[in-house]
């Protein structure tokens, strides 16, 4: 099994046969089931809580309120927010920050009793006026309200964008909005916690095992070895399982109070209250260009909703300082506070929303210039990173444009508005691009006497194929067969890995695995008496100058039962994370072309076909990579055509908190998707030559769709999603 081979996900058989054990499948002796009582008002105070009726239900053991809960240890104050999602933990006071926030927690011997108990708890509120963040005044983020401000920059200035735009012969100034969107991973969040002595074991479903371990030590004043976290399977992440949310703290707290294991699975509706969403956004984009389409100035000002406790920032202005060559760029991020759950990163953060606004604006500019939108991109091709002027680690977007245009037939596409019965056809394109994040990671590879190897690292496989790819990397270096390499992951007893988010897993943990396996190979060479840098591997054998010796024989002759190697990936300067190799800004790039059909009389919008071609470094496993890209394009189609969570203006609650009232794409909506990668090896990104791809596919899609709708019927939609009422209004 080698890097570049097509390999089916190793977790597929257990998942498709229902044998995979998810957090909520774990059962512990003596466990209690928890159910939350959620606030029915979006703002105000708890006046009283009467648990009597709940306690009268057979099976209900305790009703915990803020009066029963311990307060966090002093070390809680030292935690960063994020990875702690919010410092506002429910059941710690009487104030209510948003509708659905837990005000009590019912513990019972059965789930049914817990749920019945939760309905029976009588809570009196003193409701206060609430603020709908969509209508709130945009203000500067306050760096004292959480640490989200430090994750990127809220204001960027290069040259004088306002003057450049004002002087430009061709200008556009437009505002683009998008709604709040909830991620709805198939598996809702679930936790089960058990204390034993002074130690706690937590089974969870998360994208970063070490983050939960760290937060729990901070909350309870423990050492790392007193907190054992397991997240063996994670049924989809998409963001809300990235940072650590209050329910993940409340469950171990409750378990400690009652001295029994406590188990909680969030209901679908609770996923709308207890974990974050992608925020509602307003983005103002101004572009100025010369007659040839060269960008003279870009201004991009964004504001996103946030909660009343911390300032979460959706850094959607990133694309306007990284996608196109331009000497005058201005970016500014504002926030709008209101009574909603704190938003969070969602596939694809920053560039997902940003590429929608910028990708639409570029299309509007192309129309203004009477220029093909692809030519406009080529006229502004960024050969170096625009904000810093530094060379890219690698970029083959020109090749991707060419290959994509060829595969899609962009240059000889039918005219927009071409009829097919009642349908009008439209064609659109946009750039896809996502920045790189890398996180400190470590891994161990153990080669055993029987010639099999195991990869050990605490990374979380959220269903994207991480475990498959890690095994593949180790097998490649050790020359082993697919079946000879296994892995252990998702457990805090293993060497610590960085998070599975920001498309970072392969470049971070993958590099650590590569180094660990290389270390093992070196030791093996030494055992064989060969120079470590001159050996090869082949079918379970080590080779040197035409000679081959089976690995098993080498170990047997040396009398060792196991050869193990450790590998680490350390970001620049020994930091927790970085954005690519020092001095060589790193991104992944691509282009998305779509054909849509619009029935203007019936308000219908359907995807006919799509081609995405990407410049994303070396592809380790074409199958899992393709799945990431098609999943991303579908995610983008949902964003473009249907997904939205709406806050009721009177009640301050999400209108629908389930998948019956919030449409996401079905199979019937998605035609065959054409996906390809440019052949590329990013030497600077590390020994793998690979980069992150998980977020790339979803960028640009919404803009390409909106651009295609304009092409089809001449209607420019600047407010997502593009639903029937907007098409009919055109």
């Amino acid at each position: 099994m080698a890097i570049g081979d097509i390999i089916t996900r190793v977790d597929a058989p257990t998942k498709t046969t229902g044998q995979a054990i998810y957090a909520n499948d774990v059962n512990l002796r003596g466990q209690l089931y928890a159910a939350f009582v959620g606030a029915t008002v979006p703002s105000g105070r708890i006046v009283s809580i009467d648990p009597a009726a709940a306690l009268a239900i057979p099976g209900v053991v305790r009703v915990l309120t803020e009066a029963d809960m311990p307060r966090p240890a002093p070390s809680f104050a030292d935690l960063y927010v994020p990875p702690l999602a919010t410092r506002h933990i429910p059941l710690q006071g009487l104030e209510i920050a948003h509708e659905g926030e837990p005000v009590a927690m019912v513990l019972a011997e059965t789930l049914e009793a817990a749920e019945a108990g939760a309905r029976a708890v009588d809570v009196v509120y003193d409701a206060a006026a609430f603020t709908d963040p969509a209508l709130a005044e945009p203000v500067d983020p306050d760096p004292g309200r959480g640490d989200y401000s430090f994750l990127d920059i809220a204001e960027f200035e290069k040259g004088d964008a306002a003057a450049a735009i004002a002087a430009a012969p061709v200008r556009i100034a437009r505002t683009y909005t998008q709604p709040s969107r909830h991620s709805n991973p198939m598996e809702p969040c679930a936790v089960i916690a058990e204390w034993s002595g002074g130690r706690v074991t937590i089974h969870d479903t998360i994208q970063h095992v070490a983050a939960l371990q760290g937060v729990i030590t901070g909350v309870f004043g423990l050492e790392m070895d007193q907190v054992h976290v397991r997240s063996i399977h994670c049924g989809g992440g998409f963001g809300p399982k990235g940072f650590i949310w209050p329910h993940q703290i409340l469950v171990p707290m409750a378990a400690r109070v009652v001295g029994r294991p406590v188990k909680l699975a969030l209901t679908r509706a609770e996923m709308y209250a207890l974990v974050g969403m992608q925020p509602h956004m307003v983005q103002e984009v101004e572009l100025g260009a010369d007659e040839n389409g060269r960008l003279l100035g870009i201004s991009h000002i964004a504001s996103n909703e946030t909660g009343v406790t911390e300032d979460y920032i959706e850094f959607s202005t990133v694309p306007s300082r990284t996608y196109y060559a331009c000497d005058a760029i201005y970016n500014r991020q504002y926030i709008r506070r209101g009574n909603v759950t704190l938003p969070t990163y969602q596939r694809s953060p920053a560039e997902g929303p940003g590429s929608w606004a910028l990708g639409s604006a570029m299309d509007e500019l192309a129309r203004e210039l009477d220029m093909d939108p692809l030519d406009l991109r080529l006229a502004n091709y960024a050969d170096v990173e625009p904000s810093s002027g530094e060379p890219w680690s690698s970029k083959m977007l020109r090749e991707a444009y060419e290959m994509g245009a060829e595969r899609f037939g962009w240059r000889n596409r039918p005219a927009g508005g071409t009829r097919d019965g009642h349908w009008r056809l439209g064609y659109g394109m946009a750039d896809s691009s996502q920045g790189t994040q890398r996180y400190g990671s470590s891994a161990r590879v153990r080669l055993r006497a029987d010639g099999t190897a195991v990869v050990e690292s605490s990374f979380s496989d959220i269903g994207t194929g991480s475990a498959t790819v890690m095994r593949q990397i180790a097998a490649d270096i050790l020359g082993l067969d697919e079946s000879a390499v296994s892995s252990r992951e998702g457990d805090s007893v293993l060497p610590e890995a960085g998070p599975t988010w920001a498309s970072a897993t392969v470049i971070s943990t993958g590099t650590a695995v590569h180094r660990a396996a290389t270390e093992v190979r070196g030791r093996l060479a030494r055992l064989a008496g060969w120079p470590a840098d001159a050996v090869g591997v082949e079918n379970g054998a080590l080779t040197h100058e035409g000679e081959a010796r089976p690995i098993r024989d080498i170990l047997a002759e040396a009398g060792v039962s196991e050869v193990s190697g450790d590998g680490t990936f350390t970001p620049n300067g020994g930091e927790f994370s970085d954005a690519g190799p020092e001095g060589f800004p790193s991104r992944v790039f691509g282009v998305i072309f779509v054909e849509v059909a619009v029935d203007p009389e019936l308000g219908l919008l359907r995807l006919r076909r799509a081609t995405g071609v990407y410049s994303a470094g070396r592809i380790i496993n074409p199958r899992t990579a393709r799945s990431q890209m098609t999943g991303g394009i579908i995610w983008g189609w949902g964003m473009a055509a249907m997904e939205q969570s709406r806050l009721d203006p009177v009640l301050g609650r999400w209108l629908s908190k389930d998948l019956a009232g919030v449409a996401i794409p079905t199979n019937a909506d998605i035609p065959e998707l054409d996906v390809a990668f440019v052949d590329e090896f990013d030497e600077r990104s590390g020994p793998l030559g690979a980069k992150g791809i998980g977020e790339l596919g979803a960028t640009g899609v919404a803009a390409a769709v909106a651009n295609a709708v304009y092409d089809a019927i001449g209607l420019r939609v600047r407010e997502l999603p593009i639903t029937p009422e907007k098409i009919l209004a055109g």
């Binding site: 309905r119 019936l602 308000g603 009721d648 209108l655 019956a660 009232g661 199979n667 029937p724």
Partner: protein, 325 residues
């Protein structure tokens, strides 16, 4: 969820008998009832399972039409040749409802009894809603209501009935046949659902313990079609739907029956339009004017102006589709 007792009826007579208990609910496919109990929309004391009742799931020819047993599964009805060939509008309406899995379980008798999909009505924790809690108000009226009614609403409820098959059945002038210890009834589908002006808390005219035994269709309508408009291609309720059954004289409409769905608390027949459609070619420009006659009574909410336009276009389009059927 409240504890309830469960009884399995072995026959129609037993079902009727068991159904007379206080707070009893019939369980057919269970695709709606179980969800209601889970969300807290209702909490029957006694659930009477109809699964073993025999003789109520046939699709058979009767004098002048077809009778469908109430317990026939949606997919079985849609695929039955009597329906697929004789009443394509009904077959299409069913096949565009829910998902294949749900249609394998859901029954044609349970379908018209489904309740509104208004998000406030379906809220887990209970929002003000006169259909959920009579007298509590209507959250949709002052809240988000852009998928709500354009016909026949009152300030007490602005919801639409969401079901697809009843729209087709209304266009076909089908009749729901019921049984009850005090006597069964023949209820035209067009009169089965209750407008808020009659009672905002109710959905339909069924009495406690009244059992739907079948649905009777009059003469076949091979020239018929169903159009369902929704954001996504499958597994979603209609924003607006339209059903048409035409009788033609050469290229000209002799008789048209047109009903709209998801525009009111019941399938909405375009009676005024139907009268004007006679004598027109299905693609004649005058069709639009004929349809407009039925929109004189449209009264959109602030959020549903756009649905008026959509519903008009849908009515026009479905007439074309029916003519091509």
């Amino acid at each position: 969820m409240r504890d309830f007792s469960y009884a399995r009826a072995g026959s129609r007579a037993e079902a009727l008998d068991l159904g007379q208990a206080d707070d009893a609910a019939f369980l057919a496919g269970g695709t709606e009832l179980i969800n209601w109990m889970r969300i807290g929309i209702n909490a029957p004391a006694r659930v009477i399972d109809l699964a073993r009742v025999e003789g109520l799931d046939a699709v058979e020819e009767i004098e002048g039409g077809v009778r469908i047993g109430a317990l026939a599964r949606l997919n079985d009805v849609a695929q039955n040749p009597l329906i697929a060939e004789g009443y394509p509008v009904l077959s299409h309406a069913i096949l565009r409802a829910a998902s294949a899995q749900i249609r394998n379980l859901a029954t044609i008798g349970g379908n018209p009894v489904q309740r509104v999909r208004c998000p406030y009505f379906r809220a887990n924790e209970g929002a003000p809603c006169n259909k959920r809690e009579p007298g509590s108000g209507c959250a949709a009226l002052n809240g988000i209501h852009d998928r709500h009614a354009i016909f026949g609403w009152t300030e007490d409820c602005v919801a639409v009935h969401p079901a697809d098959p009843p729209v087709a059945l209304a266009a076909l002038d089908a009749v729901i046949v019921t049984d009850h210890p005090e006597g069964g009834r023949l209820i035209p589908v067009r009169e089965f659902h209750v407008l808020p002006s009659q009672n905002p808390a109710w959905h339909d005219v069924l009495r406690a313990g009244e059992l739907i035994v079948g649905i009777e269709l009059p003469a076949p309508a091979p020239r018929s079609a169903y159009l369902k408009i929704r954001e996504r291609e499958s597994y979603e309720y209609a924003t607006v739907s339209a059903a048409a059954a035409l009788e033609m004289d050469g290229g000209v409409i002799r008789r048209a029956r047109v009903a709209l769905g998801s525009v009111a608390m019941r399938p909405w027949r375009l009676v005024a339009a139907e009268a004007r459609l006679a004598g027109l070619a299905p693609d004649a420009p005058e069709v639009a004017d004929a349809i407009d006659a039925s929109f004189a009574e449209a009264r959109p909410l602030s959020g549903t102006e756009w649905k008026v336009r959509l519903a008009r276009n849908a009515a026009r389009r479905v007439i074309e589709l029916a003519a091509e059927a």
